[in-house]
Subunit: 200 residues, 3 copies
Amino acid sequence: MLVVLDLVGIFVFGITGALVGVRKQLDVFGIQVLALVTGLGGGFLRDVLIGATPPAALADWRYLVVPVVAGLLTFFLHPGIGRLERLVNVFDAAGLALFCVTGARKALDSGLSPLSAALLGMISGIGGGVIRDVLSGRVPVVLRSEIYAIPAFLGAGIVVLADVAGFQATWPTFAGAVVCFLIRLIAIRRGWNAPLPRPS
Amino acid sequence: MLVVLDLVGIFVFGITGALVGVRKQLDVFGIQVLALVTGLGGGFLRDVLIGATPPAALADWRYLVVPVVAGLLTFFLHPGIGRLERLVNVFDAAGLALFCVTGARKALDSGLSPLSAALLGMISGIGGGVIRDVLSGRVPVVLRSEIYAIPAFLGAGIVVLADVAGFQATWPTFAGAVVCFLIRLIAIRRGWNAPLPRPS
Amino acid sequence: MLVVLDLVGIFVFGITGALVGVRKQLDVFGIQVLALVTGLGGGFLRDVLIGATPPAALADWRYLVVPVVAGLLTFFLHPGIGRLERLVNVFDAAGLALFCVTGARKALDSGLSPLSAALLGMISGIGGGVIRDVLSGRVPVVLRSEIYAIPAFLGAGIVVLADVAGFQATWPTFAGAVVCFLIRLIAIRRGWNAPLPRPS
């Protein structure tokens, strides 16, 4: 089940990368590269940090096919430029939700402490988007004035707490993903902003 | 002792990350993220490169609390915008000095050759700042026309040479950090610049 | 032989990094840093992803001397600014060709599947240039409208297929490098562009 969630996460993140590429008017290969790094970046980061090398994405061909398919679909079927940014945000929220829970799970399985597992879940969630934005010259969404890292940390935290409490893994995983996804979407819709530093 | 120096380095680097975030008018979470990646980035890079995974920062909760505290303190207590850049430079120099020596030590302990250990010390020193600047869209300080990588390499070199010469670790570590810190500060104060390529 | 190809690749990539540094009017140390990260970045990425840590570049002093020499030579002997970009492209193509084949070889030796090995070859090929461009604030060449990742993937693919077919390693390695290099150069010369997404 973890693999399925991982692949879905890679797919949606791959779509966001490709949409950003379309927005920047990159060619089909540049779009593919952005789809690949966005889809696989977070997982690479996660696996390298817990020492699970080579990363799953390099050991399993499905992990390579999925972002390529996501990139090609986006290249041919992408909507008008106007709706791109909103779509990026929705798919990005989905990827964030899926990766923060799978990342937390993988971290727990590899024996990290609860706090570390939650942080690693957050890192796997935000990693792909950060790489996508840095490569394409955007201010990383995680730094822009939006609730982004927090929902990922909460989603991962739910998985970790349920594990500490000895619950069976399935439902907490879904709960964590749903919570992260909804908070993130509501934050975007409502335009929730976190407090700014006092003017100086 | 190594852990203490490491934590102090993470703290000061975390402050620089948060100050840059304040400067960019990021919200409290964006500032936290910058504090985390700046504080932990160099160490992650170091531990991943020597294969010491999961990085100490993921295995020990203190490594996570320190940058968060640094970020919150900076968020609430940061000074006027005018003095920010100078403060960034001073704390950055301190983090550079601490990480280059702890990085060199850790590299030696993990059996790297002297030259490699000095380079890894330099990498751990400059890593956090590079990640901070790339994420926040600044030209990495290490590339700007300033003496930056050199003091880190010298500081790390002192630790390595003392180790090769069979000295006991404590004093060379402090000496390396002090030398790196002072050279860096003097370079900033005096506006030392390295030679530029011939105009062409 | 692999080591020699690797060192030549590091040398030419180091030159591209230094040339970009000259172009950006960085000082001698900034240029050295760019030469180092560009020359060693792809290999670090490759070795970290296959878990071969510490990377060869940290275990073998020659890997450190080569990019430094490349940087110094470039600093003193670089041509007029006008011809810089073309030179960057040519050396970059050579580095791309050498790293994609050595990366694929190393991946095969470490037991990765054929598809993964080809991808890792591509990653090692494009990694150094991506790091160089991100640090120096350029749009990564791999995202710009040029045939870049594809020749690297083809070059790596040739090495992988020859290995699958049971050929002896030497000639396919050269063939892969030559194919990648020529396709890349022709693509630049002819200004080949890949299809763009439909306007929207």
